[in-house]
């Protein structure tokens, strides 16, 4: 939550700066050069790349079927196995291969990260832009609604919502989207509010462009860099929320592996077999770290005022 607040401030700052200057020219080569120069960002980018590849190619990379309960996957006393030459990261309490489950778990995180976050962005941008552009009572209604949504304790609200419906991947995605569009809406609202006072928007009115056309073709293109940055940073949050929901048992349901429910299952074994908790934990930390590092760098890069690319 604190991280999210910090992100919001940074983005609002960026939103302001975005309005002060315009990035110049196509910069892909310089972007790449800057990425190589910035070691932290490069690290983040590599993690994100690895994460995406793992998620896509999990079936090819996984040594075993993640749901198979191996009879030789448990010790004679029925306890999970430690990492060994056969099961590289060991096995879980049902004798399933931990590495395979971890790789497949990346798929859940990626799907939730992309879809929930994408949906949240769509809602947030729509609400924020509409409110700012329309103004008047539309803005009041939409932005007060945003404030109300922001006042809810997110995790409790998510638990309540899923308890009403039923835990499934689709529901998690929808619930996360419903909970996380608010910060985006706020940022976009502020940006559109100042963008619509700019002269090129008045020029759009002057040539007779409709409200929709003005908003969509004249204002929105100026928001792309903010949307890219915020989406990247948002994936980190979303992955965490999905893990949290799965951990408390209302997220992705077993036997489908998710990093959150893997940690949940590991709870009773954390003294005897700490790797069961350790590896999914590391996976979550690395993914969140990767997206945050990449997002921070994107923000610095796409921000024309502080950019070193100009």
């Amino acid at each position: 939550m604190q991280q999210q607040v910090a992100n919001t401030f940074a983005l609002e700052e960026m939103a302001r700066d975005e309005l002060l200057g315009e990035p110049e020219g196509s910069v892909w080569q310089r972007v790449l050069a800057s990425l190589v120069r910035d070691k932290a960002a490069l690290f983040g980018a590599l993690i994100v790349l690895a994460f995406v590849l793992v998620a896509i190619f999990a079936p090819l990379l996984a040594p075993f079927n993640p749901d198979t309960e191996f009879t030789n996957g448990l010790s004679v006393t029925g306890a999970p196995l430690a990492p060994n030459h056969h099961f590289v990261l060991g096995t879980d309490d049902l004798g399933r291969d931990l590495l395979s489950r971890l790789l497949y778990g990346a798929r859940v995180s990626l799907i939730v990260g992309l879809l929930a976050n994408g949906l949240a962005m769509i809602i947030g941008v729509t609400v924020g832009a509409t409110a700012a552009y329309a103004g008047g009572w539309v803005a009041t209604v939409l932005m007060r609604l945003t404030d109300i949504m922001m006042a809810f304790p997110v995790l409790l609200f998510a638990i309540a919502l899923i308890a009403i419906t039923s835990p499934s991947l689709t529901n998690i995605i929808i619930v996360i989207a419903i909970l996380y569009w608010t910060t985006t809406a706020r940022i976009i609202y502020g940006m559109v509010l100042s963008l619509k006072e700019r002269e090129f928007v008045e020029a759009a009115h002057a040539i007779g462009a409709s409200g929709f056309r003005t908003l969509f073709f004249y204002i929105l293109p100026h928001l792309t860099s903010v949307i890219i940055v915020y989406t990247t940073l948002g994936v980190a949050t979303t992955v965490l929320v999905e893990a949290a929901l799965s951990f408390v048992g209302i997220g992705v349901q077993p036997p489908t592996p998710s990093w959150g429910n893997m940690i949940n299952e590991a709870q009773s074994y954390y003294r005897a077999d700490p790797w069961m908790m350790l590896f999914p934990g590391i996976a979550i930390v690395l993914t969140v770290l990767g997206f945050n590092l990449l997002g921070d760098w994107l923000r610095d890069t796409l921000d024309p005022v502080h950019s070193q690319l100009g």
Binding site: R198, E202, A204, A206, I207, G208, A209, R213, P221, H222
Partner: protein, 349 residues
């Protein structure tokens, strides 16, 4: 151009007020206050002419231009164009009218979206008004670029690849795309380098001749206005002080404010420049929230009397087509010198 030509636009008692909060504590109670940006203007714009609009910054000249085009909603009054009152049109109806009424902006950097190619900037008006699409549109944008003196090959570029002067040409091409009758030129050269200004002025004049355009030319530079305008209106605090054919205004300025403005224009002749008498106005422009009573200029006018504080001067025609709003317009020159002399004495003593 004879001033007796047919009016293209008739503006009657046009007012644009912006709400500026209430008078009471925390702006919660008390009377609603308004910034009177445009305060009751009535004038005609004749077909084919260039009407200059000059005044200090903040006097409402840009607001006047934008209100005529309904980019800012008028508080009251009429803007008659082609038999329709633009003020009462719905947004949708007004959008259709924009084909005929266009604007060129002051700042060629702010008025072009940095995320749009030139082809799109110029082509969008064609799409919106269903003038052309596809190949025809591409052809027309190329043509427009040529008209404003740019290469059609620039169509694929983004605005940041151009200089200020080139950008202003793009802005002009956008305004001309749909063949308008009337164009508001909102200080189109103020943001440009001095070396570029003449080029843009000449371009605007050429285009006017070629396409029979009518301009409302907003400026704060009197020398430019004299060069390009048929008639000139001098504005102060949302009101017209004087309106006259260019030459007449420059040879016989009748309003003390006009005279003060004229006296501030440097003359490119050292001898004349040395002997030039400057009328220095004291103080600042009063706030348009609470404009002075009577003649709005009385707080800074060297000739102001009790009469000026009490009564709003009538809008009078004192020479052919030469309108003035001043109680003492007939004898200002002598009066002014006297006052200046008195003021100088006062300051010296």
């Amino acid at each position: 151009m004879t001033a007796a030509a047919e009016p293209l636009l008739q503006i009657r008692d046009l007012k644009t007020y912006f709400p500026a909060g209430r008078t009471g504590p925390f702006g919660l109670t008390g009377e609603m206050r308004y910034v009177k940006a445009v305060d009751g203007l009535s004038f005609d714009i004749y077909r084919g002419e260039t009407l200059g609009l000059v005044g200090e910054s903040g006097c409402g000249k840009s607001t006047t231009g934008r209100t005529i085009l309904q980019l800012i909603k008028a508080t009251s009054g009429e803007v008659m164009y082609d038999g329709t009152n633009l003020v009462t049109l719905s947004k949708r109806e007004m959008r259709r009218m924009r084909r005929d009424l266009q604007i060129i902006f002051q700042d060629p950097y702010a008025s072009l979206s940095s995320r749009m190619r030139v082809s799109r900037i110029i082509g969008d008006p064609l799409t919106i008004h269903h003038v052309a699409s596809g190949d025809k549109k591409r052809q027309r944008t190329g043509e427009l670029l040529k008209i404003v003196g740019l290469s059609p090959s620039y169509a694929r570029r983004y605005p940041h690849e151009f200089s200020g002067g080139q950008r202003q040409r793009i802005g002009i091409a956008r305004a001309l795309a749909v063949n308008p009758d009337f164009v508001v030129c909102d200080e189109p050269i103020s943001a440009l380098d001095v070396s570029i200004r003449a080029q843009i002025i000449n371009l605007l004049e050429d285009l006017q001749r070629e396409f029979g355009l009518t301009y409302l030319f907003i400026a704060h530079d009197l020398s430019v206005v004299r060069h390009i305008c048929t008639r000139v209106a001098v504005m102060y605090l949302g009101k017209f002080m004087e309106l006259a054919p260019s030459d007449d205004l420059y040879s016989h300025p009748m309003h003390p404010y006009t005279q003060a403005l004229m006296s501030a224009v440097p003359v490119p002749d050292p001898d004349v420049e040395d002997s030039r008498r400057r009328i220095i106005l004291s103080g600042d422009v009063p706030t348009p929230i609470n404009p002075p009573s009577g003649c709005v200029f009385h707080t800074r006018c060297p000739l102001a009397t009790e009469h000026c504080r009490a009564e709003v001067p009538a809008w009078r025609q004192l020479r052919p087509n030469h309108w003035v709003a001043c109680h003492y317009a007939e004898t200002p020159a002598a009066h002014a010198m006297e006052s200046v002399a008195l003021a100088a004495e006062g300051a010296g003593g």
